[in-house]
């Protein structure tokens, strides 16, 4: 038969393990969760420029411009009230179109959003859910 001390040791080890897992989750939430903003929220709330965030909105018609650097693209997104300029270096997703919804991930620096990722989805009629709920308010 297994001794009581052994069982106790196992129990303590198990609890310590679960505790570690919980701690990892909490720390990770603190550091790595990405918040979503609409252009209006971006303007009204204080956003830490060191923090990775997402912004979403509709791409404004006629706002897409190239350059000056290689593969640099600037466009404006809007939620109907406010617009914000997005700067991105790379190739835009296939579903990127003016007048359509888009979500960009990156950092807000000096009122320009420096995106390192521009997201679009499989679905042609795609409107990001976060955005849809924000715009219906």
């Amino acid at each position: 038969m297994i001794s009581k001390n052994y069982r106790l040791g196992m129990l303590i080890g198990f609890l310590a393990f679960i505790g570690t897992a919980v701690a990892l989750v909490l720390i990770a939430f603190e550091d790595s969760v990405v918040f979503f903003f609409t252009p209006t929220e971006l303007q009204s709330k204080q956003v830490n420029p060191e923090r990775r965030i997402r912004v979403g909105g509709l791409v404004e018609d006629g706002s897409t411009k190239r350059g000056p650097a290689d593969a640099e693209i600037r466009f404006k997104i809007t939620d109907g009230n406010t617009t914000v300029t997005i700067r991105y270096i790379g190739i835009l997703p296939d579903l990127f179109r003016e007048g359509q919804g888009v979500v960009a991930q990156g950092y807000l620096q000096n009122a320009v959003f420096q995106a390192d990722e521009v997201l679009a989805k499989h679905d042609e009629n795609y409107m990001p859910r976060n955005l849809a709920s924000a715009m219906n308010k």
């Binding site: 196992m10 393990f17 990892l24 550091d31 790595s32 918040f35 979503f36």
Partner: protein, 638 residues
């Protein structure tokens, strides 16, 4: 006409599944052999009806019958035949039909191949299988009927989303479903065991092949999805910790834990209640995955047009399954007694550690996946939880697990001999340190990951060498020992080795991958990761249902890599086909962007280091599982 027959067959399948549930359960309750023996034929009839129904839907797609709404919305005349067929499950209704088809396939398999099972256990398992089938068939018939007519019929269909017109759609969903839904079988066996109030070592032996089958398919299905996502631009690469990806990963983790715990039940007659719980949880994760994918409650790059009413229905099914099975568990599990007790440092102890870590890992994935949903429902805050979260939680949890994977097979059942086990691993551990020191300078976590991958490979090889007594007896004697090793031993070694190879690829990609984005004109040379590519030309070409610009890149050895920008007129949509040169040291991955001026294009070139080893690793894991599945000792049980 055929469409109506398909619809009829679907309704017949529902009716049969209801009887398949009620009659055998009633039969086992009042011990009527004739009622019990109703189970097997019912399962086979249900499967046959669904095959006919699915065949009718395929027929409608192949013949482009646009009077069927589903075909009109998801197909078109010009679509190549492969995508007409795979387009059947490229939409919600068709994919749900495939789901129940596979469910009934497993029900019928239990009926046909379960000849060695006790009659009552088999009848109960088939009845539970019938109950799941009845729920989902109701769901399909009342909210997602694939046979609904569209009158008047349009002249041409809307076509299939061009992003889905890919061989990946033909392979990934059916195989993934085979794994997802395959876990229903172990769920049914677990519920049957709870109804009986008894779990024996034999039960574990009966269930193991079914777990293995589901696990192999799930591993292969996730691998295929990962490959597809890798070469489809904008899907986040081979793994993005996207909710839909996590939805398939959680059942995989639970199935992996189950695979290991059921061995403890079989060999040591212990861990029974836990194993039953895992079997219930694994399938609950499958249902959760179906809900997450089909309801669209989570923002994902892989989700398709979603409908909240349907989501609600699946959520109700999910809740009933979870609450129902856990209540049954709470009521009946105390009856199940385990006889074996065991020490932490033993083979079974290592398997328990596997369970602890994989299940906790699944827990962190679950939290990361559903927390945004939870937060949004209680506050105004909108967040997304991406790769950094999972890299900070799931990945560290896996490190001790990898050590357990290496050490575990050296430990004997019951006994406490860690020192002699570690003695075997001196060489592997020395290599770990050497690799670690050699790679220092790069991010420490990744360096450690590489060293760990090498350690695990060597640990697996050492264990095999020890089994065949390599270099201790003559080479010939070793070879004949190697031949005599059971397939399941090879299965374990290969699967564990595959895990090591996978880590090697995944960490390598993280550590050494680079990319270049720039404008380029034909003739320009681009340098990346020691290679020089020449951007040779862009030409216009016509495909079956699209026009394309084809960009040619030439490697220094003369190999041509082509990437395309395609435009699909029917769907009015643009897609980008990446160019790939797959090589062991790292892939060259080219993307042709927009033309910014005459003969000037945006291009993006990636060097994805060691990435091919990721899938070689997971493929090895599948092969290992398959070998275990085919082990003669288990085959009797099948």
């Amino acid at each position: 006409m055929i469409v109506e027959l398909g619809h009829m067959a679907l309704i017949i399948a529902l009716v049969v599944s209801v009887f398949q549930t009620i009659i055998p359960l009633y039969g086992t309750a009042c011990q009527q052999a004739r009622l019990i023996s109703f189970a097997c034929p019912a399962a086979i009839v249900q499967f046959t009806a669904l095959v006919l129904s699915f065949g009718a839907l395929i027929n409608a797609f192949v013949t482009s019958d646009f009077s069927v709404a589903n075909v009109a919305y998801n197909s078109s005349f010009l679509k190549p035949m492969l995508y007409k067929v795979s387009g059947v499950w490229g939409n919600h209704e068709g994919s749900m039909l495939l789901w129940v088809l596979i469910l009934s396939f497993f029900g019928a398999s239990v009926a046909i191949f379960g000849g060695n099972l006790p009659e009552i256990l088999r009848a109960r398992a088939i009845a539970v299988q019938g109950l799941i089938g009845a729920s989902f068939l109701t769901f399909i018939i009342f909210t997602s009927n694939p046979f609904a007519r569209l009158i008047p019929a349009p002249i041409d269909g809307r076509g299939l989303n061009p992003l889905l017109q890919d061989i990946g759609l033909a392979l990934h969903p059916p195989i993934l479903y085979l794994g997802y839904v395959g876990l229903s079988t172990t769920f049914s066996f677990a519920v049957a065991a709870l109804l009986e109030g008894r779990v024996s070592q034999l039960w574990a032996r009966w269930v193991r092949p079914w777990i293995l089958a589901a696990w192999v398919a799930l591993t292969a299905g996730i691998t295929l999805g990962s490959i597809w996502s890798y070469y489809e631009l904008g899907w986040g690469g081979w793994w993005f910790w996207d909710p839909v990806e996590n939805a398939s990963f959680m059942p995989w983790l639970a199935a992996t834990a189950l695979l290991h715990s059921v061995v403890v039940v079989e060999k040591r007659n212990a861990l029974k209640r836990w194993t039953i719980l895992l079997a219930l949880v694994a399938f609950a994760f499958s249902l959760l995955g179906t809900f997450l994918v089909r309801s669209g409650v989570l923002t994902s790059v892989h989700s398709f047009a979603a409908d909240s009413q349907r989501g609600m229905f699946i959520l109700v099914l999910l809740s009933i399954a979870i609450v129902g099975s856990l209540s049954l568990y709470a009521w009946r599990a105390p009856k199940i007694e385990s006889s074996g007790t065991f020490l932490l440092i033993s083979r079974e102890g290592a398997l328990v550690i596997n369970n602890l870590f994989t299940v906790t890992g699944a827990g962190t994935v679950l939290i990361g996946t559903i927390y945004p949903l939870f937060l949004e429902s209680i506050s105004d805050e909108k967040i997304s939880v991406g790769p950094p979260f999972f890299e900070a939680t799931f990945v560290p949890l896996m490190v001790p697990l990898i050590f357990a994977v290496g050490v575990g097979p050296f430990l004997a059942w019951k006994r406490n001999n860690l020192v002699s086990a570690l003695h075997n691993l001196i060489f592997a551990t020395v290599c770990l340190v050497v690799v670690f020191v050699c790679l220092l300078g790069a991010p420490i976590g990744a360096v450690f990951g590489m060293a760990l991958a090498v350690w695990l490979m060597l640990a697996v090889l050492t264990e095999w060498a020890k089994r065949v007594r390599l270099f201790r007896v003559s080479l010939f004697a070793s070879l004949s020992r190697a031949r005599l090793l059971p397939r399941s031993a090879y299965g374990m070694s290969i699967a564990h080795f595959g895990l090591a190879v996978f880590i090697f690829g995944a960490v390598g990609d993280n550590l050494y991958s680079t990319e270049v984005v720039r404008y380029a004109s034909p003739g320009d040379k681009i340098k990346i990761a020691g290679h020089t590519l020449t951007f040779q030309s862009v030409t216009k070409q016509l495909g079956i249902n699209y026009d394309a610009y084809v960009g040619k890149f030439v490697m220094e050895n003369g190999q041509v890599i082509e990437s395309e920008r395609r435009f699909f007129p029917v769907e009015g949509q643009q897609t980008t086909e990446v160019g790939l040169s797959v090589r062991p040291s790292g892939d060259i991955y080219t993307v042709l962007g927009e033309a910014v001026a005459q003969d000037k294009w945006t291009i993006r070139i990636y060097y994805n280091a060691l990435v091919v080893w990721i899938w070689i690793g997971t493929a090895l894991m599948s092969v290992g599982g398959l070998l275990s599945f085919l082990d003669a000792r288990l085959r009797i049980a099948l």
